[in-house]
């Protein structure tokens, strides 16, 4: 009998399996960083984690607040700048994988992290592009996770290149051979991309999730693998590592806001004089 787990633990543990030993992975924060660290603490001890802020070879003891947060680690092996990361590391083909959280995604894995609604009359500007367009464009592969985002027929804004209009169009536009999103892990299942058409299809269903519930979130006629697997539940070891390393990630954003805001109030009042 397995330990009970949160949906974030499932997503992180599944994402971690996508990273191999001795690989270079560019990571931001949150779920992505938790997945990278979990991989290093389990099957990929020689994977190298870097952030676009110029921190290469970090070994974080907590989840960084942002890509340039060096308080998560005492030292690292190489300190360079952001242009060095994009050129001498990424553009040289050294980055095997990038982990990325998704806002909006279409059937070919193209993504929007910039605007919700028509950009000329929008309602929300999301975080913006950051480093995503180049990392998704030039890393060996992109490992995507989505917990608050949406599938759309047409992106409100085209921030990061997936497989464009499918087939070879991505590579004809100049991106490296073989690169592109390899997997998308949501709260209900795991999606992959057809080797020829590059259209997204459902490859795994999470324990307890239903195909109908997945289809309800996807506005196009979603393709499904001939043999649909069940996503493995996180092991007790994985769960223990994650709860120790990344409790804030484990509980998900909603609970996090609730718990952390309570802690904020405690901290700011306990010493008030």
């Amino acid at each position: 009998m397995g330990t009970k787990y949160t949906i974030q633990e499932l997503i992180v543990a599944r994402a971690a399996k996508e990273l191999h030993d001795r690989e270079f992975v560019v990571i931001g924060q949150g779920i992505a960083m938790a997945a990278g660290v979990l991989a290093r603490k389990t099957h990929a001890p020689n994977a190298v984690i870097l952030t676009e802020a110029g921190l290469l070879g970090i070994d974080p003891f907590k989840v960084p607040l942002h890509i340039a947060d060096p308080t998560c680690t005492r030292g690292f092996t190489y300190s360079c700048d952001m242009i060095d990361i994009f050129t001498t590391v990424l553009n040289q083909g050294y980055v095997d994988a990038t982990f990325l959280g998704v806002g909006q995604i279409d059937r070919y894995g193209n993504m929007n992290s910039s605007y919700l609604g028509d950009p000329d009359a929008f309602s929300i500007r999301m975080t913006g592009a950051g480093g995503a367009p180049e990392f998704v464009g030039y890393a060996g592969r992109a490992i995507l996770t989505m917990s608050g985002g949406t599938f759309v027929e047409k992106l409100d804004y085209f921030t990061s290149p997936g497989y464009l209009t499918g087939g070879n169009t991505r590579y004809e536009a100049g991106m490296p051979a073989g690169s592109g999103p390899s997997v998308l892990i949501t709260t209900r299942g795991v999606f992959k991309f057809d080797a020829v058409t590059k259209e997204m299809y459902l490859a795994e269903l999470h324990p307890g999730a239903t195909l109908d519930a997945v289809r309800a979130e996807v506005p196009w006629d979603l393709k499904v693998a001939d043999t649909l697997k069940t996503t493995p539940a996180p092991t007790g070891e994985e769960i223990a590592i994650l709860r120790s390393f990344a409790p804030d990630v484990v509980m998900g954003r909603k609970l996090q806001l609730e718990v952390v805001m309570q802690q904020v109030i405690n901290l700011l009042t306990q010493n008030a004089g």
């Binding site: 942002h66 890509i67 360079c80 242009i83 929008f122 929300i124 367009p133 180049e134």
Partner: protein, 352 residues
Amino acid sequence: MEKFMDADKRMTAREAVARFVRDGDSFVFANCLYCMPLALTHELIRQGKKNLMAFQQGGIEEIDQLILSEVIDRLVIAYNFRAGGPRIVSPLDRALKGGKVVIEEMTNHTLLSMMKAGAMGYPFLPVLPGIKVTDVVRRRGFLGDQRFAEIRDPFTGAEMLVVKGYNPDFALMHVQRADRAGNGQLWGAMINSKWAALAAKKVILSCEEIVETEVIMSSPHLTIVPAHKVCAVVECPWGAHPSEVLGHYDYDFPFRALFVGSCANPDGARAWIDEWIRGPADRQAYIDQYCRRFGKKTLDAFRAKPFKSVPADYGSTFSLDWDEEGRSRTMGLTMAEFIAMLGEKGALIDGN
């Protein structure tokens, strides 16, 4: 560009902003997310600067604060942190919607390459061409076509993408240490700091501590901005609070959350700015107010525990060519022997 050669440029943040910032200027943040120059940013707000154009890779709270205070009306940006999550309407959202600010969307790499080209004095630099397909390149903001251009590699004919170089009027920058002349030393996340600082026509620099120039000279590899770029040096402990400065303090998440929480509505955010930016006369007053409100222990809890780098050794064999007995190591002669030799060899001229 103008060189700033004064040996002592120390002044208050108030003096620095009053002397070196003009309404309508463009400026760049020479820190991004980490070690933010928030004491200096707050001074822009306190002095009511207007119509500034800001370049920033990644905003964390400073962009929303400047927008709420109507200091900036043009923004070139790649990323803006949304601590409240993607569905909360932010001050930036409201300002864009209301036409209070216009925006140019960039990526981290291309925006920083604009600065690097400007810093190197080049009209453009190449960037990774794969992003040509995205709306970041295809849609245009207020910079119009003065941003990306497609050219051909003259050696292979391959299609390339380049970005235009920019030189903002000034940079705001915070570092761990600097000398009086403005040699500023930063470590931790290097991110955009070097190229943003070197692109700007002048740098307004704040630091956790002023050190003797001897400290700088022992560790020149840490100097991120050389003195001649710096027009003002502001000694300002806690000058990046609530962001983090390695070796000094971690980020103050609870305090930061107060601002984020206040942004749920414009009145709340403006009240926060009145209380924490416009209210205190300077950073010392802000820290004093913090300690009165939340207790000095709360602030002290964020202080970093030391973890010192293994130093570099800049030692050489001698510190003079003349040894203890007054003999030149290069020649093996004393000064008197040397002058005598010059005479014997007929090398001396009598100019009279």
